[in-house]
Symmetry: C3
Subunit: 408 residues, 3 copies
């Protein structure tokens, strides 16, 4: 108590002593004070601000994906219900003409998940350099934003795709070709027990589009990825069945100890012809283990889609991925789609399970930014697809799921 | 190591091979690119951007609620202290004239809590359709934003109110009447053990305002809610004592197993006459249990408020709730308020406790967006109000709490 | 089921009955509707909107800090890797001319951490009053934003600095003097077991700058802080080694029970002369314990920096801290820096460890908002610096770490 009195005295004393000193300007928060550039502002649900010289810009947007699922269960309970599948805020911008950044955070499930968080140097076209947290360049479906996917979830083989990691990347873009390569550490919130070293990886993707027009495109792609696992040396692949609401991951390799490194190969193809499109990928994973035989896993999918209302899937040659569909009619666009996908996690005694999924989908694009989706999925599991022993194998449920999606 | 070398070679080789290809435009991030509409921008602490045709808009705002509490304890320790009660970012907007959305996330307590996250269709006036995460239409106090509540916390019976869930809602608005109804799943982050099915509910609210003018209004409301519980079939009501800082929830029914469904009835009334207002609600909950007797719980509150400075509480007929007070004087508005509330969770052998609270409150609205609040609460508990056995019953503490609140 | 039918009937009945009532205006979301003031918008990567009368404003910005570290380990594994060090969204603004607010949230590590969240009253210059969550006024290095620090992490003695708490503060600013004082509770997410009372503290800082010009400044500062610990009475100081990526905190006093209060003294000095600068601080902590001898801990650091490219560190007299460096040349600014820091947590039988760090640093400011950093740290620990027994003492690792930083 005495100390507080002393301190307050000290405070008062000082201020009285110095009370004669006075200046005129108000205090201001010590922060980036931007200059009053001439700025162009626009909105299409989000905000975009750009300086007239184009040297600075910011875009604020987001997305809301709301799902419901009804499972026609066979041998295991899957849990009907609803969820917020993605609640995303996106901030991206340009700094001093040459630099760009993106910051994208997902708040669904009541948790914070940093998606993109990177800085890029953009002044050495056709090269671009990126540092931070972003997707390793692997798989057409992975590179395509969930805003623009044909189905509600990515196909089964996506379980083998690296996804986002912290790293450094280079992109090169030509008239028909894009090339992306990067060196990566682990994901931003991976932590290794007993402070072992994190793993690292190198991933590269090459895409080639012999033609890529408004309503007609052909895409071919090839990707390789090498990953040195972290000091725990535990490896695991697992996968839900193209439905996010249930927590059951039938396909599960279990934790494979003494795993040293993983090499991935990906082959991609897509073809757009008017309202029709086809797309397929094949992914192969080779794991190197010490004192155990090295297993290989593989999976592939093939999908087709047809716009009843005449639109085309929008292939973006410069990034080698698909983009936003804009309905041609006032009542929106309607798309029918079907997909077959398969993943096999059984090899050299590892019984991770194997599964085939057939999905039928309908998408109604009310306008370029709002979409309703319905997917009906037939699952056929083998006896080992038992969620690493947690559920019954040979399960054959069917899944019906719905989504309302908006982005801005 | 060999593999990396190979991959880098592959990368270099590809780029050299294709180096002759060059295009002129810079890469750009694949994102919603908004069109340069003519936009109207304004701020009152937040940002609002609207296109001149009114078809698109975005509003970014937030709120900060800072609390401190001093407890005059009787039989149990409650824990004096301070907290961030609500740190909220709000984003809402309009898309393609007919669609609206809201996204509202709370970051207090160092956790992420998605509040509103919904899409609405607004083009079929006087009907409106909503899908996503929002409040089930039940209780005047619940429907009123915490920015506009007369007291720092909602009254005891609010423990029985459904709050926010994932669902689909319909609103209809007339000159004196509003009607809201919805079908709902569980809250977005509820997860059922062993993948059982989530529960679902149907809730409907009818409000009638015989008159609703600037300084004079009468509100009557009626709501019913039915909820089929999830497959765990565990039901629980619990409640703090109109003070959020302490974690003690004296009133606690405990987990009631084999609970099948819950039916709620709510009766609301409010009356504004110049600077005076009265408001009250009665809520009754009937639980259906298998193999046990069905309990009924009920609670009610009655509150009055008086603006010394001449303002009126702002009743919004179109939404059947209260809104923002705008001080008439430069020094702001001062409001005195009192409330009696009671909740009884004792029935058919369930000893959840019963309690009466009397609250005296003073609010100082410095301007329409900043408010200081003080609440003094007298608590009288029965012997069963023991936090399901964790603390002593028959406790009679008094609570003094303060809030500084700003929204923008 | 019967109940739902009844409820839907009730809904339909009501709407039919009242269907004749109709009004013309569309529904609107009940939210702060800002007035169309004339507003000035600018961007420098973020957005700033200010009304022409200056009464309202909002600034939206953020920061991205990406780190990688390679540890040259001696006796303990530290764990090489990479991380998102800080992913921050900042919102600050002005309301009704006299009030200001700031809201700043960190999303790195996949968790939400509220940094600044306060309201201020700014109309009584040279006084300013603040309420909410903000830094207790203690230590030059702590008061300086991590955007503007010379080294990647603050020096070892920063482990003793109070940091952010919930409280009420007063600032006074003169031509050469600033005075800050505040009363504080605990941090916003501290919770005391068994609902004991939270602790509280009082902190005051006085700075004096005999001269403070663009390229030449002298800063002297003095701070005291008293903290009454919460009802758990457990006290702990611990510290990483100026590297955030590893989780090892060599210096760790352990939990010191029966701790009653803590008193801190801080002495600060900084001198800028053209491209050269020196800065140092000494912090002493005295802990009062019941039934144990009272320990004292202390630490200090001294650092120098030199801009090869001619810039100066920017001392801000009004806030008594350092601010943003703006490169003079097109290729940016380059800064060399060195620091010695030491912290001793050994006293009266407490063996928290003692350590000396020497850091060499290079900073490349590509432009005012983007910076690359590299730090090389030599660590020398005594035998007690064993992370409270978790690792080996007398460890002498060297740490090499890199950062890419952008703010907007």
């Amino acid at each position: 108590m005495k100390k507080i009195v002393l301190m307050l005295l000290f405070s008062c004393f000082s201020s009285v002593l110095l009370g004669q000193q006075n200046v005129l300007e108000p205090l201001s928060v010590d922060h980036v004070r931007t200059q009053p550039h001439d700025a162009i502002i626009s909105t299409k649900g989000g905000i975009e601000v750009t300086t007239t010289d184009g040297e600075f810009s910011l875009q604020l947007g987001g997305r809301v994906l709301i799902d419901a699922a009804v499972y026609s269960e066979d041998k295991n309970t899957l849990g009907n219900g609803s969820e917020l599948r993605d609640i995303r805020l996106d901030l991206e911008g340009r700094l001093y003409a040459d630099f760009i950044y993106e910051l994208s955070i997902d708040f669904s499930d009541g948790e914070t998940d940093v998606k993109d968080a990177w800085l890029g140097y953009d002044a050495n076209y056709p090269w671009r350099y990126t540092i931070g947290h972003f997707k390793e360049p692997f798989s057409l479906e992975e590179m395509t934003s969930n805003k623009y996917l044909t189905f509600m979830e990515r196909a089964l083989p996506n379980a083998m795709v690296p996804g986002r990691s912290l790293g450094f990347g280079i992109n090169w873009v030509g008239e028909q070709i894009t090339l992306s390569a990067g060196l990566f550490g682990d994901d931003y919130n991976d932590d290794v027990d007993d402070e072992g070293d994190e793993g690292w990886g190198a991933t590269s993707r090459l895409t080639y589009a012999p033609f890529a027009e408004e309503r007609s495109a052909l895409h071919l792609g090839l990707a390789v990825s090498y990953r040195k696992l972290d000091d725990e040396q535990e490896f695991r692949f697992d996968s839900r069945h193209e439905s996010h609401l249930t927590d059951i991951r039938y396909l599960d390799s279990g934790k494979l100890s003494q795993s040293d490194s993983l090499t991935l190969f990906g082959f991609e193809g897509a073809w757009v012809s008017g309202s029709l499109s086809l797309q397929g990928e094949l992914i192969q994973a080779n794991l190197e283990r010490k004192a155990y035989e090295d297993p290989s896993f593989s999976g592939w999918y093939l999908q087709g889609s047809w716009f009843l209302t005449g639109e085309s899937r929008q292939y973006k040659q410069r990034t080698g991925r698909f983009g936003r569909v804009r309905p041609l009619n006032e009542y929106g666009a309607v798309e029918l789609a079907a997909r077959y996908s398969t993943l096999d996690l059984n090899d050299v005694g590892i019984e991770g399970g194997s599964s085939d999924n057939v999905t039928l989908g309908v998408n109604w694009y009310l306008n370029p930014q709002i979409r309703l989706m319905a997917n009906y999925i037939f699952v056929e599991n083998d006896i080992f697809a038992d969620a690493d022993g947690d559920v019954n194998g040979e399960d054959e449920p069917t899944l019906l799921q719905f989504r309302a999606q908006a982005d801005f």
